[in-house]
Symmetry: C2
Subunit: 339 residues, 2 copies
DNA sequence: ATGAAAGCGCTAACAA
DNA sequence: TTGTTAGCGCTTTCAT
């Protein structure tokens, strides 16, 4: 890249020193308005662009923030990313985005690549698979700030942005119970991840509060791939328990489940009431409309962006703000309505 | 960043020259296996990481590819991005992703930022708003390859990856006509973009082929924001024409439209048949299932990634491959079924 | 308010 | 096969 025009060219041209050019371009206080104006004008005129490599090499920082997410192609994730992107780009940072595809090794490789790319900070939502976290060690030892969102890891000095998943799981389950469900199934994601584990805890706790017995048959762990919806359908249809309520930890999967159950002549919500999670737009498309827990993805992204920028600009430190918990909200729609 | 450990440290340590270290680390052929192994081992042991700024500054290339998309949070876009990311990361490139939010100025700013970041190539899907394209001039003059996908711009030496939108529009419309629709409305996106313009052409052409008169009342231009679905509903309900078929250039909008029309006691497909565009998963969630045109987003992303990598690695040149047209496909579902 | 000069860490031409 | 050396373009300390 870079078809020339350096500060030296400008310097020669205007008969000043490269230092003056550099200072002018960076709005250094100790430069006269006049020369500054002259130089900036010339820079524009000649299509000067600062060479970030040189600047970064010199300054030892990149103005770039790395992001690792499990996958790009989910509504929830892309909403978060949209939030992050909006904030950091406004602050003059670039985003390097990579996806782990839920695979631990890919996550490790991405972390390494981003480290080499000299990111100033790393934002992560963990892959389901990941059980070893040593790929973050180098970030810590080099004091590159880490921030986790949604699928988080508790690390000293690495803030997390989450919702209270236990509470949300409790709310979702309680709602089903209030709607007179007594045989409730919880379909959850990979329990290696705290999001799902916490929601399961909330699920159990709500059952307990209401004096409903729990056993392993009330939980089904899946990977939320809609293509494998049959796993859930088979489980439900063949179970000895006649489920009358299902709490699915993912709206999209829940919507697909409703579709499939309907094909099996099961009426939603009459036979089985279903509540999802995330408030994906699909919930308002499906018939019946899906009850869910609102999970503010965009806001989470904005917050993640704001936190990391604030840190990088030295406005906050991460010792104090260690965890931001966003408010969730139950949204009751037709899929859990009493008939 | 970068808590030290440079090739000089390694060089001193192993009593070789920095050049030897560099060559070893880059797998240069003219280095003995033995020293190479020694050096690589030491590098690992001491947690060496190449400083990309220095390398890039020296090599004048960044191993980074920039992407500008209208928005991150649509199923179609995130699918494309997932495809691009998969390919380029496999080839050792980073992706810098930014969104224009459909705003021309934001697109210009992004293009500039990415240029400054020294991207080796730029992949773009245009904002609806954009009418002036001068922000790409510098890329052209600096010979940084540009590639457009989906919402494309015809520029010499900048390949485009698209589907045959005219043909697809023709197919969608013909399908409605075959299903006995005669008063057909086309809801299209911003006609500044060729995607929508071509589909409209296809629409008109299909009408003409079938001897159906066309006038401006048969077209409604919207921005496909589901929150503004009322615009379309009002238009349809109040129109003097009693529409019996609608071709919507966006599945998500179509799904929302179906929902709203149903609230107005309009039966889909009995009263009005509807076909969408893109084959978004929402089409299989909505009742009735939405007929659509399959638009292979992931494949488009993969192809975009492959093309740009092939170019950067010198395996192809862009004079010859100027446009890749992907195959689209009509998917007939319940929303256009005869009753 | 401005200039001179050193050097960030790496690669590659040239030499040995 | 390995070493020497000269920058890549920028920022910044120290001088002026």
């Amino acid at each position: 890249m870079s078809k020339k025009v350096t500060i030296y060219d400008l310097a020669t041209l205007l008969k000043v020193s490269p230092a003056t050019v550099s200072r002018s371009l960076n709005n250094h206080p100790s430069i006269s308005k006049k020369t500054k104006k002259r130089i900036v004008a010339a820079a524009n005129e000649h299509g000067y662009h600062t060479n970030k490599f040189a600047a970064n090499l010199r300054k030892q920082k990149s103005n770039t923030i790395g992001v690792i997410v499990p996958r790009l192609d989910s509504y929830f994730m892309s909403t978060i990313l949209a939030g992050i992107e909006q904030i950091v780009s406004r602050a003059g940072y670039n985003l390097i985005i990579s996806q782990s595809l839920e695979v631990e090794n890919k996550e490790k490789k991405n972390a390494e690549t981003l480290l080499n790319s000299g990111v100033d900070a790393l934002l992560v939502s963990l892959a389901n698979e990941t059980t070893d976290f040593s790929h973050f060690d180098k970030y810590i030892s080099r004091k590159i700030p880490l921030l986790f969102f949604d699928r988080v890891l508790d690390l000293p000095n690495s803030p997390t942005i989450i919702i209270d998943n236990r509470d949300a799981g409790y709310d979702a389950t309680s709602h089903l119970i209030q709607q007179n469900c007594t045989n409730i199934l919880h379909i959850c994601g990979n329990l290696k991840r705290k999001v799902y584990k916490k929601r399961l805890e909330g699920f159990k706790s709500a059952l307990e509060t209401n004096g409903i017995a729990f056993n392993q048959q009330h939980v089904l762990e899946v990977d939320f791939d809609p293509k494998k919806i049959e796993v859930a359908v088979t489980y439900i249809v063949n179970s000895k328990i006649k489920f009358d309520g299902i709490f699915v930890s993912n709206d999209n999967y829940a919507a697909n489940l409703i579709k499939e159950l309907q094909k099996h002549q099961i009426n939603i919500p009459k036979d089985i009431k279903i509540i999802g999670f995330n408030n994906d737009p699909v919930g308002e498309i499906i018939s019946p409309n899906l009850s869910t827990i609102e999970y503010p993805g965009f806001k989470m992204g904005v917050l993640a962006g704001e936190s990391i920028i604030a840190y990088l600009e030295g406005n906050i430190n991460f010792q104090s703000t260690n965890s931001i918990v966003l408010r969730h909200e139950l949204i009751a729609r037709a899929s859990t309505q009493n008939t």
